[in-house]
């Protein structure tokens, strides 16, 4: 029974949601809304689990003095600090501290990390974009055409480059992406069917 009941729940829920999509009746919509509320509640529990897991891992790192354990203190201080500053009786999300920590700590940190990517990408492009084979040359030329498409200093060549870049995006890129998307879609349907029919049981833990 430990296995049969979860399998039955998954089978009935999966089948119902698949059929419901094609039934535009108000009762079907009501049930769908009800299930949606359940999903949101389950989602909140998962979030709580994530927070608990983060606290446990960080506390363990501090207790055991693992390498760079000091960063775990920063993680915990940041998390609890923002929660405390965001409490409604301290002004909530409009409080001075909450907004200032977000605007002057969080935003610059994120922006800095993302900005550094530009340098790594430049270095990687310099080393990796080599015309070693015919396919690599095609990739290299496509990248150059796309990078040059918004260069305003190419004169009349710029319009031709923009047209060529649009063709690359709308024809070869589109064909390749559609093939990938359709492949992924079919894969999702196959996996969903395997879960509904009880063939795939990974969600139940080790079998």
């Amino acid at each position: 029974m430990k296995k049969e009941i979860p399998l039955l729940i998954v089978f009935v829920s999966g089948l119902f949601m698949a059929v419901q999509f094609f039934v535009p009746h108000s009762t079907s919509e009501k049930i769908y809304e009800f299930v949606m509320e359940w999903t949101i509640i389950i989602g909140i529990f998962a979030l709580a689990l994530g927070i608990w897991s983060l606290i446990r891992v960080s506390v363990n790192r501090i207790r055991r003095r693992t390498p760079n354990w000091q960063y775990s203190i920063v993680i915990l201080a940041g998390m609890f600090g923002m929660v405390i500053f965001g409490l409604s009786f301290l002004g909530g999300v409009r409080s001075y501290m909450f907004r200032h920590f977000f605007d002057y700590v969080m935003i610059p940190l994120h922006a800095t990390m993302f900005s550094l990517l530009a340098f790594f990408i430049a270095s990687a492009a310099f080393r990796a974009f080599r015309a070693r084979t015919a396919l690599a040359t095609v990739l290299l030329l496509s990248a150059l055409i796309l990078m040059l498409r918004f260069n305003p200093y190419l004169g009349p060549l710029g319009d031709q480059d923009a047209a060529l870049a649009a063709w690359i995006l709308n024809v070869p890129n589109l064909a390749a992406k559609r093939a990938i998307i359709i492949g992924i879609g079919l894969g999702i349907v196959a996996t969903a069917l395997k879960v509904i029919l009880g063939i795939e049981r990974g969600y139940m833990g080790s079998d």
Partner: protein, 281 residues
């Protein structure tokens, strides 16, 4: 070893230094970079222009501070245009740090609309911010049924039913379109659920690296417009005739791209010379 071969083996720190120098110099220079308008950006602009005053649009601000440089200019340009045209905006933020981005944009835009269009934007009458809820797929689906399922109250804990502009607004069917500005893969949920399931007209603003992945949806009509990265934002700023941060940043981006292209070309010349000499295969 000739100059090309030497450059092709250049230490990465030199690349960083040259790139940093180009960024700093072009930031300091002040001139306007000419911008061409692409049809996919113009269609977003035309959509906002075509809406009658008083109609609703949904702005989904699903990006984090990391992609702020590309995303904020799009948000500002579109929302200023919409509010100057007296459209009503429902805002959501479905990425963890999105609420901070959305609120910052909303407060700034309320000020700038007053300054540029002479219009006082009133929270709750012209604009409402519903806030953040985790699990974007679930939230996007539930908003298709009713905004109140995921957001019984707004970001400031005011019940939705007591907010003027939300009275009589149930779901995507009551808004004329959704404009999603995002730097996350959550865009797939919006396309699959908001457009696919609920037929909501959807346009997207994406980071530069994401843009190429979403052209198939543009061609299939699942999205009616696409703004890609800094260029997309700059095109929009040009369309609304309000040059801002994106048009300024294009100056930097154009020149850094030129430098990277030069590096790639020189690197390849060095590589080909080395291959001819038989030093590499």
């Amino acid at each position: 070893m000739n100059i090309f071969e030497r450059i092709s083996r250049l230490d990465r720190r030199w690349i960083y230094l040259i790139l940093a120098a180009v960024v700093v110099i072009t930031v300091m220079l002040k001139y306007e970079t000419p911008i061409r308008i692409s049809p996919e950006v113009r269609s977003v602009y035309d959509f906002v222009e075509a809406q009658p005053p008083g109609s609703y649009i949904h702005m989904a601000i699903d990006y984090d501070p990391g992609s702020l440089a590309e995303m904020h200019p799009m948000t500002y340009a579109i929302m200023e245009q919409a509010l100057c045209r007296k459209l009503k905006i429902i805002m959501t933020a479905l990425s963890p740090n999105g609420p901070g981005m959305a609120e910052q944009a909303m407060l700034d835009i309320m000020d700038s609309v007053k300054m540029h269009c002479g219009r006082e934007v009133v929270y709750g009458k012209d604009i409402v911010f519903l806030g953040y809820k985790p699990y974007p797929g679930i939230v996007i689906l539930s908003m298709g049924q009713n905004y109140r399922l995921s957001f019984p109250s707004d970001y400031y804990n005011t019940p939705l039913d007591s907010i003027d502009m939300m009275k009589g607004i149930a779901n995507y069917g009551d808004v004329n379109g959704i404009i999603l500005i995002t730097g996350t893969s959550g865009v797939d949920y919006w396309i699959s659920y908001a457009n696919g399931r609920y037929n909501a007209p959807l346009a997207v603003g994406l980071t530069g690296v994401m843009a190429a992945d979403y052209y198939p949806y543009l061609r299939s009509g699942q999205i009616f417009g696409l703004m890609g990265g800094m260029l997309g934002a700059a095109e929009y700023e040009k369309l609304v005739k309000r040059p801002g941060r994106a048009m300024e940043a294009m100056r930097v981006q154009v020149w850094t791209h030129i430098v990277i292209i030069l590096f790639i070309i020189i690197g390849n010349i060095g590589y080909l010379i080395s291959r001819r000499k038989g030093e590499v295969k």
